[in-house]
Symmetry: none
Subunit: 207 residues, 4 copies
DNA sequence: TATGAATGAGAATTCATTCAT
DNA sequence: TATGAATGAATTCTCATTCAT
């Protein structure tokens, strides 16, 4: 549709991807700092070092840019979590790792955290299915760990994975929001909170 | 600030307040359904049964309308919680009542819940101090209950009220978001979740 | 829709109509000189002495402005012709008056003639039904005169009104196009042509 | 002007002409269906099977493409009519053949008819001299037939060729417009109309 | 106070045209 | 010659806000 029709050479493909990514990066920056509604396409273009019109060669419109950014970021986040969990044995450790992973995302890229914590929620209804799917999949990884824990006898029988995943995400997300909006953003503070959360959660769900 | 300067008669005052409230009610409706960015002043005016220009006799601008709505709602929410907690003895019961109260808000006014869950977050930086203070005070009531519980020996010594209040709010808030965005919005489902959450939280914090 | 909602006072109504007409007049001017595609809303606004946005209080969009202009002008043209024909007895005289009327329109308002001859044709497919209806009605008046002439025994039996109306309109229209595009635009020239056409047509259709 | 400068081999010349023609054909198609203003160069390119930029190797710009299309088509039309008339003896028959020829153009290529009937008129002022000359020459052939008829005593003395050519063209053109815009486009209907027109015209001009 | 017509700044988007490859 | 990605000027339309009544 709006993507250049023929990317035939590998070289062309590479350059295309690079520019696509540059625009997404610029969009992340602008959306995080101004919020989607206040963000101007022309500023994204300026930051990406392309002309306004070029944005529309890569994205159908401003909404599509937002959605593509969600897709791209959530997909990477999902993949990262899956890889981290793969090598872990117990559900207990997995659960700890999930919390750790989520908070680490915020520390490693506060910009991404700002964007996700703010925009993902406001776009709840209008983000298209794919993005919702990626988000749902993220939460589903969390639910799966709870389920595993129950099967392995590590977690209580009466714990409901489909509910706990929301609570856990909500708690972590709120902590991220608070932290990224705090003036200092000290990583060690987030670490301390993480440790505390770990203890609370394990008491809540462990047998 | 945005209130007309001279409201001299009591009758005039009353009528003024009534219209002020009508506009706020209309704004809540429109903001909740369209989101702040997509909401049109003219639609708020139509819903409130006043002319567009009249809005500007009561509020400085669109932002001020949003902020005033936050202030108004958060103040009432705060007050309501304080009253409910006043008559309760144990920290345990208070904590349960807090969760119950928060979820009840969503059931009683999904519109308010949509507005608060979505807009409060995106407006984090721009909501003015008074409203921020009201929100902080709301969370502080939660922290105070934890603190009480620790002093009364009901809750564990190592529980950090300043952290738990965020987690708890995050968890409840996320549940509200999920519920208000669900197609059916069955109150009993929210009740079941509340009960589950209660159990988890008490295991997490109780001695 | 796009019209101001409440025109309640007669005075308000009058002012509204006046501005509506001013915009239409400006649009006629700009459309005739630049053509619809090249015409800028901002120029119409400037010529009408209103702000750009004001146009959109009276018309839904640029297309609607064009269509409304057609409606307005064709309706007046139709009415004018009907009145002129009313007082005439014979079909022969009526037919002459039609030709006279059509060419007089061009002489009296070359701007309108330019607009109609050019834009009516290019907009053939997209002009909405109402405007088509007005144009169809205009041609239908012509057909009716032919039909009358046949009934009255003034015109030949084998003349087909539904076909002749098109031919007659085409011939007159083409003459208008040629005339309005001629550098001098001498009215007497058009008169001479009209007289010639009259003779030809009568020979063609009269018994 | 817009042709590439060096076409040195005959083979190169041939290929060049072929592509030039392909682009014109594509342009005709797109201009007829969308109208010049709505037509996109990129769509012409796609239909012609060339890159957007290639168009600009053959034509100076979009306007030049339109003008070149007029020139090309009008030249062929003119030539065609001249050939058809060459073998005919009487002015009467020639006049009939002209009408037949013009309507046949529409039947054989409604696309061309749509393009010519709509775009020729809107572009009246901006079509350049050469194309205007071709169109004038087309009408002049019509005038010449009338003139011949007068000399040969077939047509009335008081018939003015310079006026009749416009009327005749207008009538035929309008009939074409109506026919190409009709949903069915039945050729036999056009034939019936042609026959009727023939009778009318001959009565009008014949001695 | 209340009105709502008018304003005009501002932003997204399109697409003819260019030019490096 | 041919390509097609990139450009950016230009235009429509929206809507918060104002102000004459």
């Amino acid at each position: 549709m709006s993507r250049p029709k023929d990317i035939e050479t590998a070289e062309g493909q590479r350059r295309h991807e690079a520019k696509y990514q540059r625009i997404l990066d610029a969009a992340l920056d602008v959306f995080a700092h101004k919020g989607f509604a206040e963000a101007k396409i022309s500023e994204v273009a300026r930051l990406a070092g392309v002309a306004d019109g070029t944005i529309y060669l890569y994205f159908k419109n401003k909404d599509d840019l937002l959605i593509s950014l969600f897709e791209s970021k959530l997909e990477a986040i999902n993949l990262g979590l899956r890889q981290e969990l793969a090598s872990i044995e117990t559900a207990r450790d997995k659960l700890c790792r999930i919390m750790d992973y989520h908070l680490r995302l915020a520390v490693e890229s506060p910009t991404l955290a700002v964007f996700m914590t703010i925009e993902l929620r406001s776009s709840a209804k209008f983000v298209k299915d794919y993005a919702k799917g990626q988000f749902a999949e993220y939460l589903e990884q969390w639910a799966q760990v709870i389920r595993d824990g129950k099967e392995r006898g590590e977690f209580r029988d009466d714990v409901r994975p489909g509910v706990v995943k929301h609570m856990l995400f909500g708690a972590l997300d709120q902590i991220c929001v608070t932290w990224v909006n705090s003036p200092e953003r000290k990583p060690e503070e987030l670490q301390a909170i993480a440790e505390h959360l770990r203890a609370l959660v394990l008491r809540a769900v462990a047998v």
